[in-house]
Symmetry: C2
Subunit: 383 residues, 2 copies
């Protein structure tokens, strides 16, 4: 499924023993061509893991033949040895496939600050190569999971070509990507510049608008690989639409599986003077711990929404702000609106609308509530 | 104690019935002079409560004769009626004291978006005036508590003059003030401009460096009242030192009583290129939910510190970052340092040092861990 649905791709997921749990932890994705065009978007964190540094370099010529991904260790903050290990991983897969290491991307996820057990990883790569299959997408998607409870996959269809994608990520979801690894594939014919344009548009509207806990990872990588196997060349608009559809589907799955969350909260800002204003306000609400706790508690505490909006530099007048929660206009003109007790927060999905009455732009940022389980999962993650 | 220790002040705290708990909820502070100079600092939130709007106006001439403070309701986001209610409170106290309402400051704290029961509040003001006493500081400090578990008071001595202070606040502690009401008093002789300079210096180094949960309130107010009753005129430097000492003492008490917290975390950034860089990095770490959860779990997860540092625009090279937690240098030169298992997080106080190796500036921001109890208290606050 997913990344192996488009023609020209094989994938696998195997147990290499990186995870104490014994679950699958190494995935290999191969683009059999005929073309090997690629684009990528990386974390905007300035502290980046070795595989991000490596893969950025791989992408400079717009060609990727294969990807090795591992869970069970982020290989971040691991110094020169960590970078050497990433290099070895790429060389090892390249040798097994008969390609150049400079065309092999590497992605890692897991705990920061620990070196990877390289003997296990290289043996896992060998096993992954042996297991490569035209229907291996599901196995690959499973092998990149960390605290994810389900694998994330999506597919979109163009006219005679397809886009598939897989993602991992369940926490640290924040703008400019999340702790998130995504590989998307397409059998469309597209050069690296077209892929880059499509991918940047798609991530800006999808993954960049997920902000589960305001934290930003050192390892985030979104790869888009094109095999050209369909022989069809879509327009950049068509490609962007399909890639965006896959990314939106995956982003929604990430929110739905966020660590310990009980609610998925869509914070929609309307009537903003600019898109930047809309996003700033939506993010401020999405990151407000007090509001996120209130949603967990089933409390439509709109005062915390207004207090969050008030921290921004967006254009608005405080006495014109409206806030609705699940269709109940609890705040009107900056003051008390409908009775807050009318709000039903029993469903998982929550829709908050903040109307700034300052313009015509709209944006939605997705977040989650802040729960006991979030604290529990993240207080014990490395142990 | 505290605000009534300097000469020239009376205070009281009474039960007005604003709190369902039946605890004290109205405080009155009177400056009997001979002078009535004052200065104030307010929340930088753009959505401000009615009493903030009112009190800003009162402070324009640098004179305050009295203050009425209530817990049990923030009177924020309450529209024109909320402002009218604040006005009535000031008029009511002014009439009882025989002063001008334009010299009466008003502070409120509690839930946003609810009108105050004015009949109870005005009756409470009457009771508060009747209870005014030269040793009423303790009662006043108790009456302004919300989720605080203890009252916060502090005193500092100059040469022949004193400064006293009281504070409330246990959550929403964030830069540019916290959900925090502070009244400080002094019997020094000081004009409003001197008081203003001293107070701004003091708050910038104390309350502005407390960031318990990254949230910012609509009601934060810090008042400094000077009676001149000692007859001594300190230099602005002497006054600043004493006011800073009181504010620092109160700020530390706020951190120690933060909602649901198990740890007080001092995030110290060293060798920054500028003070702004030091503060930006310290705040990024202090606001990182994942790191705060890790501290709660007794897990010295320094990777989360680096991931937070990496989100800032401060000057540093990732491969030169050092991080110590409670004296153990867990990260050296951006990579693995001493064994993280050497870190002891069993004490309430935690000291994180991030060395940027980029300059000579240092700053410390105080925060708390993120706990089950924080989620619990803030998911049920309005119910």
């Amino acid at each position: 499924m997913s990344i192996t649905v488009p023609q020209g791709f094989r994938a696998s997921g195997v147990v290499a023993g990186l995870k104490a749990s014994g679950r699958p932890d190494v995935a290999v994705v191969v683009n059999d061509g005929p073309r090997h065009d690629a684009a990528a978007v990386f974390t905007s964190n300035r502290v980046v893991a070795a595989p991000v540094t490596w893969t950025r370099q791989v992408l400079t010529d717009g060609r990727v033949d294969a990807v090795v991904l591992n869970s069970g260790g982020a290989n971040a903050c691991t110094g020169p040895q960590g970078f050497a290990d990433t290099h070895v991983s790429a060389e090892h897969l390249a040798a097994a496939l008969g390609v150049s290491a400079s065309d092999v991307a590497v992605c890692s996820t897991g705990l920061i600050g620990e070196l990877l057990p390289m003997d296990r990883l290289t043996a896992g790569i060998d096993a992954g190569v042996a297991a490569l299959a035209g229907d291996g997408g599901e196995a690959a998607a499973t092998a990149i999971m960390t605290t994810d409870t389900v694998s994330k996959q999506a597919v979109a269809a163009g006219d005679g070509w397809l886009v598939g994608g897989m993602a991992k990520g369940a926490g640290m979801l924040a703008p400019a990507l999340a702790t998130m690894l995504v590989v998307a594939t397409t059998d469309a014919v597209a050069d690296p510049a077209t892929l880059d344009a499509a991918l940047r548009d798609a991530t800006a509207q999808t993954f960049d608008r997920v902000d589960s806990d305001g934290c930003m990872s050192t390892n985030d990588t979104v790869l888009l690989l094109a095999s050209g196997a369909s022989g069809v060349t879509p327009t950049v608009g068509e490609l962007t639409d399909a890639v965006t559809a896959v990314c939106a589907d995956l982003a929604r799955q990430l929110v739905a599986d966020a660590e310990g969350a009980r609610h998925d909260i869509a914070v929609e800002v309307r009537s903003a003077a600019s898109l930047a204003d809309a996003l700033e306000v939506a993010r401020a609400v999405a990151r407000n711990n007090l509001f996120k706790c209130a949603v967990f508690g089933g409390d439509p505490n709109w005062g915390r929404v207004l207090a969050a909006v008030g921290t921004t530099a967006a254009a608005f007048e405080p006495d014109q702000l409206d806030v609705s929660i699940n269709g109940v206009q609890v705040c009107r003109a900056g003051g008390v609106g409908q009775d807050r007790s009318l709000v039903d927060l029993s469903d998982r999905e929550v829709h908050v609308v903040v109307d700034l009455h300052a313009g015509a732009e709209t944006a939605t940022v997705w977040t989650n509530d802040l729960t006991h389980d979030y604290v529990h999962e993240n207080s014990a993650y490395s142990t």
